[in-house]
Amino acid sequence: MSLKVILFANYREIAGVKDVELDDVKTVQDIITELTTRYPGINALLFQDGELKRYVNILVNGTGFKDLDGLSTPVRDGDEIKVFPPVSGG
């Protein structure tokens, strides 16, 4: 099962890549776990005390994951996932 994850801003920089194809992931949680396994540096940006930081935005086919089933949101082949950090420059 293959889906596409698009990374933005400093997540993209840490991963060194914009698009990540993932197989064998069934939920948004699986995606996060796989990303932090492949790109350990992303851990500190995504998590605070083991919890996903509240300002991390994850879209599943254009809808925010918190408007679906949160980290348990099911994902499947062909889905497009976007992961946005907050950005603060000006």
Partner: protein
């Protein structure tokens, strides 16, 4: 204030825009916009609001110009290094459009002064580089019930959304806690893009032309020149705006 013959000629090309007209230009002339910050975003924001004929710009910035600012802060030049940014900016803006009023305030926006600084503004433009100060501006917008045009940049990427208190999510709905402050990488053209988008939103809000970017975060990904959108909704338990129905 009505338009003078100078105004009618100077702003002719935007007066011609469908739905804009002289009425729209008068609204700009009578508007006061607070620009919070005169750096990467603030420079193009102030410049484009000035050339559009917004009658009163209030620019607030505490900083002096540093050489490292000059890749992006286009209102400041080499000759302005070590000068207060508001002094550098107001001199340029006076030359760019001598017919508008510019109030330049060299101040740090904090809990003591944020309500006084924003009083009388019709709209606030976020040209800040940190969330704690953005949260104060957000609170001011809520209290005064005025639009708050939020933007932020990083590298070749930027974000923007227009906040209307009580109608859209406020900034605390969207970013409930501040990310750590950092020295951020940024190409000058990035706040150039976002700043001009902020001005476009501001002019639309003042004149009524077009449709604002409400309930959505527009993401500019300059690295691939793609745009994305994050749909946004209010947090019913937001400490800043949940009291607004």
């Amino acid at each position: 204030m009505t338009l003078t013959p100078y105004d009618q000629k100077r702003y002719n090309r935007q007066i011609l825009i469908h739905g804009f007209g002289e009425a729209g230009q008068e609204r700009l002339k009578n508007a006061t916009v607070l620009i919070a910050g005169c750096g990467g975003l603030g420079s193009p924001v102030a410049t484009y609001l000035a050339v559009a004929g917004v009658g009163h710009l209030v620019i607030v910035d505490m900083d002096v110009v540093d050489l490292s600012n000059l890749n992006r802060q286009i209102l400041h030049w080499d000759e302005n290094v070590d000068q207060y940014k508001v002094k550098s900016a107001s001199a340029k803006l006076a030359a760019i459009n001598p017919s508008i009023k510019v109030t330049a305030l060299q101040e740090k926006i904090d809990e003591e002064n944020y309500l006084d600084l924003t009083k009388g503004a019709d709209l606030i433009i976020d040209a800040m580089d940190n969330y704690p100060t953005r949260y104060l501006l957000n609170k001011a917008a809520i209290l005064y019930n005025i639009p708050f045009i939020h933007a932020s940049v990083w590298g070749l990427e930027g974000r923007l959304t227009t906040i209307i208190p009580g109608k859209t999510p406020c900034l605390e709905c969207l970013v409930p806690e501040a990310p750590p402050k950092e020295v951020f990488p940024v190409l000058g053209a990035t706040p150039g893009v976002l700043g001009t988008l902020q001005v476009t939103e501001a002019i639309k809000a003042i004149t009524g032309v077009g449709q604002l970017a409400l309930n959505r975060m527009v993401i500019y990904d300059g690295e691939y020149l793609e745009f994305h959108e994050i749909p946004l909704s209010r947090n019913p338990e937001c400490p800043a705006c949940s009291h607004l129905k």
